[in-house]
């Protein structure tokens, strides 16, 4: 089943909700228009994930590429790489962008299919619960010792099922909405995971390359030191000290290489590909960081408000609350009445007399009162859970905003300040070596430090990228 089907069902639910609204309801629930404003986020998610057009949406608020980010973070410049397409299918291998990785994941990863299947399963369960009331019938044939067999045929319908049908359908509408929102949320999580895995794979590979350079420089230092030792100008101890440094640098490079391989494998797994797949051609370095969000509290509050509006998990929780409210209202209403069955019965007595007529059967149990209490408790729990989630969302947005700002600041400090300073230090060291103010190992050491610093800069850039994704997650936005 395609996402279109899912959305069609959601639209059907909307229509039902409209009908139910016409029938009146004692419980205050969101109006259809409010629900409709919730759908574009899901639709946008679907469009971004599967690249699908959403027929008939026409809300006019489908964002252009990256506008989700834009509304959430600074000027919203989405990562430049996101606009670069990825190679999919049989086209020649091209550098895999984050966007391309997401597309691959939703095309190849069984987890995406699992998400869809679970969503449909949940929707089916909701549909079943909202089905029209059933019809029950019974037939009996009792043979006396003498005379005709006594025949009895009864056909009845549970009155409550039919009478509560509008209410149950209204509840189903909200349950469907909650299910779609949960599915949307889970899918967004998968997308964020993919993007983080992509950034991690690129960043770790970048770091690994820098540390490999550091190891290469350290190796040259060690070789040069052996030449100095051979010429009688460096003690064995000093020579070995350089070799020790070389070994340590090699070790660090090897560890980085393993970490990069793990990151690549993680990404490959998320994409549902073997890590040797030619489509896994990653860029050599992470793109420039998105713009840093403003630090003022007003801006953070606006972001939090945005998250409260658009987080699909929070919407799902609120939809669930509405559904539970409707359910509780219905259960309460009916808990004071017996369960009635209305039908017709037809009997043939052993003497051949036939009787036919309507039948009304009632049943009342204290359990029904208890069910009402359970429904109320469920509503309370759902409301508390939604409120708790809202608090968590606000705090998470605040935390992620701060974390992202710090990560960007540190990444910029590394790449724009410290790395150039180290390069200047290297340049100065080389000049000092030129004038025999320092030995030949000094500029090599600075070059090695420079590579290590570049590796650290890669780590911070990666951290900023991850923080960016986590902020997007907190905002509930699709990058």
């Amino acid at each position: 089943m395609k996402i279109f089907d899912v959305l069609t069902r959601a639209r059907t639910a909307l229509a039902l909700a409209g009908l139910m609204a016409l029938s009146g309801c004692a419980v205050s629930v969101p109006r259809e228009a409010e629900v409709r404003t919730q759908l574009p986020a899901t639709a946008r998610w679907a469009a971004s994930v599967w690249g699908a057009a959403i027929p008939g949406q026409g809300t006019g608020d489908e964002p252009s590429d990256g506008s989700g980010v834009g509304s959430g973070v600074g000027s919203g410049a989405a990562p430049a790489e996101a606009s670069v397409g990825a190679s999919v299918g049989t086209s020649p291998p091209r550098v895999l962008t984050a966007e391309g990785a997401v597309r691959l994941a939703f095309g190849e990863n069984p987890r995406a299919r699992l998400l869809r299947a679970e969503f449909l399963k949940e929707m089916a369960a909701v549909d079943a619960a909202a089905a029209a009331g059933g019809v029950s019938w019974s037939w009996s044939r009792l043979r006396p010792e003498a005379g005709l067999a006594q025949l009895a045929l009864a056909l009845s319908v549970p009155l409550e099922d039919w009478l509560t049908l509008p209410a149950r359908r209204r509840q189903a509408y909200w349950d469907r909405a909650a299910a779609a929102q949960r599915a949307g949320w889970e899918t967004l999580q998968l997308e964020h995971e993919v993007r983080i895995a992509w950034a991690t794979a690129v960043g770790m590979a970048q770091r690994s390359a820098e540390l490999a350079t550091a190891a290469e420089v350290a190796g040259l230092e060690a070789e040069l030191s052996s030449r100095y030792h051979d010429a009688g100008s460096l003690s064995r101890a000093d020579w070995h000290a350089h070799e020790l440094q070389s070994g340590e640098a090699l070790s660090a490079a090897a560890e980085a290489s393993v970490a990069a391989a793990i990151a690549r494998a993680t990404l490959a797994t998320l994409l549902g590909l073997p890590s040797t797949d030619p489509r896994l051609l990653l860029p050599e370095q992470l793109p420039a960081l998105p713009q840093i969000p403003s630090a003022d509290t007003e801006r953070t509050a606006a972001l939090a408000a945005q998250a409260l509006r658009q987080r699909l998990d929070l919407r799902a929780a609120r939809s669930g609350v509405t559904a539970r409210l409707l359910e509780a209202a219905r259960v309460h209403r009916w808990s004071k009445l017996p369960a009635l069955q209305l039908g017709v019965e037809s009997e043939r007595e052993p003497d051949g007399e036939r009787r036919r007529g309507p039948a009304l059967e009632g049943e009342w149990s204290p359990v029904r009162v208890a069910e009402a209490g359970l429904a109320t408790a469920t509503v309370n729990a759902a409301q508390a859970q939604a409120e708790l989630l809202a608090v968590q969302v606000v705090n998470e947005v605040t935390l992620r905003t701060q974390a992202y700002r710090r990560a960007v600041e540190l990444a910029n400090l590394q790449s724009e300040r410290l790395v150039p300073l180290q390069e200047a230090k290297l340049s100065e060291s080389l000049k000092r070596y030129n004038y025999m103010l320092e030995g030949p190992f000094a500029p090599l050491e600075e070059r090695r430090h420079g590579a290590a610093m570049a590796a650290r800069a890669s780590e911070w850039q990666l951290a900023a990228w991850v923080a960016f994704q986590e902020l997007q997650q907190a905002l509930g936005d699709a990058p």
Binding site: E223, L430, R432, P440
Partner: protein, 445 residues
């Protein structure tokens, strides 16, 4: 700026130094003057003739410097010293020279040489334009304790912007020094120092050429512009009168002249001063002139820290004769003192690979350090900011590979009358070393 003929004559080394074109970079009005020009505060309309003339002595030539003008007032020879921050150039006229913010007297480091005659009364005004207090100690002069210039001991420190006066009678003659005795470590390390020459009354020890130089050491870390006073031993600039070779003035002498080289040492190291070509006698120190029977011929004289020595000789052989400190690293400019020796290190192949990760890296020193000057002179090895190459100087036969405490005594039958440098010595035929083989297996038959 206009000079009277008298002003021009009184400076001793003024003419030579001015013609050498030595200048100090413009920083402030007081330090933007030519190195040997009078300081604006030395506003003496009618300065005295050089004290050396009064004493019947040859004028003192302070290499790369000058003598301070004086006037006669109220029975005393009056000088005016101004202590202030200046900009100093260690190798005027040399590309890539090292310039610093130094402290000096009357615009220069060392300050101008004071010349007077034994028995005279001197009155020396000191204007303190430094940011901290100062004083002047008259090193070697016999004087009242209250004039000895030891801040806190014999006088209160002279605060900034104030002018104090020292006045005493010159009871002994010889080569002496002057320097602060307040925050002495910093003030001497940054350049406050000078020579005080007291000529004897009589002229029995007259020389034809009288040169003066003050030895000093500096620590100017690469890329910096102020000397580091906290360095104790590992200095990187070694100077005659605060200038390094090849910017140090040559000593120009006519053949047969009697020459005196007055050397003072306010550095933190002893210096074995070596003269090529002549035997000299050490005729005096900061204790005064030595009895003649103590003189003995030398070619190297150790000038210890805080000492002065007068070397005298007759320049009876023409030529360009080196005069330098014999500590080899004192005839170098800034160099690393803790680098592994590259001699014999084969790394040309490795250098190629190093350049792949470190562009610009050059292997050097495998065959010796002389190639360094070739590289730096050609300009394809950039050095740090405000740092001179270790080796400098070009002679008639190639690179001198020197720096620091090195200069040349040029002895000629005739010298240019304008006092200019006569150029390199032209060796008479048959008096110069020559090549006999280019075969490394050469054997005498």
């Amino acid at each position: 700026m206009n000079f009277t003929r008298r002003q021009l004559l009184q400076g001793g080394g003024l003419a030579v130094a001015a013609l050498a074109g030595s200048t100090a970079p413009a920083v402030a009005a007081s330090s933007s003057l030519p190195k040997s020009a009078p300081h604006p505060l030395e506003n003496f309309p009618d300065p005295l003739a050089p004290a050396a003339r009064k004493a019947g002595q040859a004028p003192v030539t302070t290499l790369n410097g000058r003598s301070l003008p004086a006037r006669w007032r109220d029975g005393a020879r009056e000088f005016h010293l101004v202590a202030e921050e200046i900009e100093h150039d260690f190798a005027p006229g040399q590309a890539g020279s090292t310039r610093i913010k130094a402290w000096g007297y009357n615009g220069t480091t060392p300050g101008p040489t004071l010349e007077a005659v034994e028995g005279e009364r001197v009155r020396i005004y000191l204007t303190n334009r430094l940011p901290e207090h100062t004083s002047i100690h008259w090193h070697g002069l016999l004087l009242p304790a209250g004039m000895d210039g030891v801040s806190g001991l014999t006088q209160a420190p002279i605060p900034p912007d104030e002018t104090w006066v020292y006045e005493f009678e010159l009871r002994n003659h010889g080569t002496f020094l002057y320097h602060p005795h307040a925050d002495e470590l910093l003030q001497v390390a940054t350049g406050l120092m000078g020579m005080f020459i007291v000529h004897p009354r009589g002229s029995e020890d007259r020389v034809d050429r009288d040169f003066a130089m003050l030895l000093h050491n500096w620590s100017v870390h690469p890329g910096t512009y102020r000397p580091d006073p906290s360095v104790m031993t590992d200095f990187n600039l070694w100077t005659f009168n605060s200038v390094v070779f090849p910017a140090i003035d040559s000593m120009l002498v006519k053949r047969g002249e009697r020459v005196r080289i007055r050397i003072g040492n306010l550095s933190m190291h002893d210096h074995p001063m070596h003269l090529h070509g002549f035997r000299f006698y050490v005729t005096g120190g900061d204790g005064g002139r030595w009895p003649r029977h103590t003189w003995h011929p030398e070619v190297t004289a150790l000038v210890a820290v805080g000492q002065t020595r007068d070397l005298e000789f007759v320049a009876d052989v023409n030529g360009d004769w080196a005069f330098h400190c014999h500590k080899a690293h004192h005839t170098m400019n800034a160099m690393g003192h803790d680098i592994p020796n590259p001699l014999g290190v084969k790394q040309q192949d490795l250098a190629e690979r190093i350049r792949e990760v470190l562009p610009g890296y050059m292997a050097m020193g495998e065959h010796g350090m002389a190639e360094h000057q070739v590289h730096t002179d050609m300009g394809h090895m950039e050095g740090p900011e405000n740092t001179m190459p270790m080796m400098m100087g070009e002679g008639p036969f190639g690179k001198l590979e020197m720096g620091g405490m090195f200069t040349v005594v040029k002895v000629r039958d005739e010298l240019p009358k304008d006092g200019s440098d006569p150029g390199w010595y032209q060796h008479p035929r048959g008096t110069q070393v020559r090549r006999v083989s280019q075969d490394p297996a050469f054997r005498l038959k």
